[in-house]
């Protein structure tokens, strides 16, 4: 089985600075493999090991998604090889454009049976890219996947849905977005990190892919949401019962109880 793992190299918005006009300064935020994507790497590795398949990592984004550090971070997590589309023309690309580029890359990799992705990215966090990717490919797309295991003729997919824990027999190509319930990702060891340097990386130029035109949203204006207007009264809890009494009194005064 040939499995592609779509992962994102992204900064945590927690570390970004937002100006009053809503513009975001990322200079103090460092990129990393998006927090939940290692779950997809691990699920893919386990599936491939059980079926004798290959795991191909795939990321698309600005030129910065292809640094030596970024390559190593991905390749040390159980991939066989990496495909990257890194181009500054994708710096502010929205989800549908990213999905269109990902779809073109999946097509160019060829003979892909399954795409695994994270449940949502650390920066955008909308859980939409994998589902739009499925749309671009004309494949089945399923989110909330809490388990993927091999079966005789394909893959057994488990999903944690409001209607219940749903089991499916998957026989065709699909994009699956996995939650942290699926598997516990490995922590890369020294061997994995050293091995990463030897694994092949294919850099695919954006212009080499057949990507359809995608309409982008026009930003009219921006703002920074009102936060930080909380009182911020901090009580020392060394003496727990006096701290508790002080808090209860304050909450009663604030009519919060």
């Amino acid at each position: 089985m040939k499995i592609v793992v779509a992962y994102k190299w992204a900064p945590n918005p927690q570390d970004a600075e937002v100006a009053p006009d809503g513009s975001v300064d990322w200079s103090r935020a460092k990129g990393a493999v998006s927090e939940y994507d290692p779950v997809a790497f691990e699920a893919a590795r386990q599936l491939a090991d059980a079926t004798g398949g290959e795991v191909v990592g795939l990321t698309v984004g600005a030129a910065s998604v292809d640094s030596p550090l970024a390559r190593k971070a991905a390749l040390s997590r159980g991939l066989d090889r990496l495909v990257v589309v890194a181009d500054d023309r994708l710096a502010d690309a929205d989800g549908t454009r990213l999905a269109a580029v990902l779809a073109a890359a999946v097509r160019s990799i060829g003979d892909v049976d399954l795409v695994l992705a994270g449940d949502s990215s650390v920066d955008v966090a909308e859980g939409q890219v994998p589902m739009t990717l499925a749309g671009q490919l004309g494949w089945l797309g399923m989110a909330a996947v809490s388990g993927v295991t091999p079966s005789a003729d394909g893959v057994v997919v488990e999903r944690d849905l409001p209607g219940g824990i749903t089991t499916l027999a998957l026989t065709g190509p699909a994009v699956l977005a996995v939650t942290t319930d699926a598997v516990v990702p490995r922590v890369p060891g020294m061997k994995d990190i050293l091995g990463a340097a030897k694994k092949p990386v294919e850099v695919v130029p954006l212009d080499a892919l057949e990507v359809p035109d995608v309409v982008a949203a026009t930003t009219l204006s921006g703002s920074r949401p009102e936060t930080g207007n909380r009182r911020g009264v901090i009580i020392d809890g060394a003496d727990a019962s006096s701290a508790a009494a002080e808090l209860v009194a304050a909450l009663r005064t604030a009519r919060a109880l």
Binding site: N12, P13, Q14, G22, V24, D94, T96, R97, A99, D119, S120, E126, G127, Q128, P130, M131, T132, L133, A134, G135, M142, A144, G163, G164, I165, T166, T167, L168, L170, T171, G172, T180, D181, D213, V214, V215, A217, T218, L220, S221, G222, S223, P225, G228, R230, R231, G232, I234, D236, G237, A240, S241, A243, A244, L247, V248, A250, L251, A254, A256
Partner: protein, 312 residues
């Protein structure tokens, strides 16, 4: 591309569509629905305040709802002029339908919606982006505005729109073989006046008793951070707060042993009073609370429960 005044809602076998209908109605034009799933859902949507329902037929042979996503997009594309807007739910299946629609028209999906209005003949969308750190007013020119919104509840407007069946061919890639119904907790955190939430500061599942006791003393519902509901199974999934969990606005929110990461705190941005209990005085939660106690939850929580009971 010519854009009409027609708005569609796309429904993935879920009668809870009030959020979709409200957003679609706000755009002024006619509102039609495409419904994937059971006839009973199509009938329910027909009474939820739409003008017309296209139903893709009873799903046969265990096809998951998502197998119809491409067909939903096709129905919209073939319905005449391109729609003004297409509104769907942020649920897992809702996002699959929206993804197919976005790919069909090659337009963005706009989530984090705070409002959508018609200005002239264009849809102007206010949305919260990047986990809630910034807000944007945006507009899509040259294609439908595809909007992802909270599903809302089930509504019955009294009158039923016509339901028309249109044939559809689902993808055959997957078949549902089993559904294990979960224990319904029936919890409604959104309605709770006070909520006590616990995070990874809790050392063992058995220690949850401490937290439920505090919740009882405060007349509060129990909630948690994501790591306690996913991965480990200490607390039910519908009780975790945050960007991918519940968004709530109680009078009082108490965060116990929760560090205060953005992805968690965005879920209680609208809470009236936020209290934090954390042993690390540098925890980010202290910069986002009204009252904080720096201390060990294993000492502070029982003391707080006792103080609440003593005063009442």
């Amino acid at each position: 591309m010519n854009v009409s005044t027609q708005t569609w809602i796309v429904v993935a076998d879920d009668p809870a569509v009030s959020g979709l209908v409200t957003t679609a109605r706000g755009l002024g034009g006619a509102v039609s629905a495409v419904v994937v799933g059971r006839k009973s859902v199509a009938d329910s949507v027909a009474r939820a305040g739409v003008d017309e329902v296209l139903w893709l037929g009873e799903p046969g042979d265990g096809a998951p709802v998502e197998a119809y996503a491409g067909e939903v997009a096709r129905v919209l594309a073939e319905a005449g002029a391109a729609p003004l807007a297409v509104v769907g739910a942020t649920t897992p299946a809702g996002r699959a339908l929206l993804g197919a629609v976005a790919a069909r028209f090659q337009v963005p999906v706009l989530a984090g919606l705070r409002g959508a209005t018609l200005e002239g003949d264009a849809v102007v969308v206010e949305r919260s982006v990047l986990g809630g750190i910034a807000e944007r007013r945006v507009q899509v020119v040259g294609g439908p505005s595809v909007l992802a919104v909270a599903a809302g509840g089930v509504t019955d407007e009294g009158t039923a729109a016509a339901v028309r069946e249109v044939p559809a061919q689902p993808l055959g890639a997957a078949r549902v073989t089993d559904v294990r119904v979960k224990e319904q907790t029936g919890v409604d955190l959104g309605a709770a006046r006070a909520v006590v939430a616990v995070g990874r500061g809790l050392k063992a599942q058995a220690d949850l008793d401490l937290i439920t006791d505090l919740a009882a003393a405060a007349g509060a519902e129990l909630a948690c951070s994501r790591p306690l509901a996913e991965g480990v199974d200490w607390v039910a999934k519908e009780r975790y707060i945050g960007i991918s969990g519940q968004h709530i606005a109680p009078e009082l929110y108490v965060a116990v042993g929760i560090s205060g990461q953005l992805q968690h705190m965005v879920g209680v941005r609208d809470a009236k009073v936020v209290v934090a209990i954390n042993s690390d005085k540098a925890a980010p939660v202290f910069a986002q609370c009204d009252y904080g106690i720096v201390g060990d939850l294993y000492e502070v929580v029982p003391a707080l429960a006792a103080a609440l009971r003593a005063g009442s």
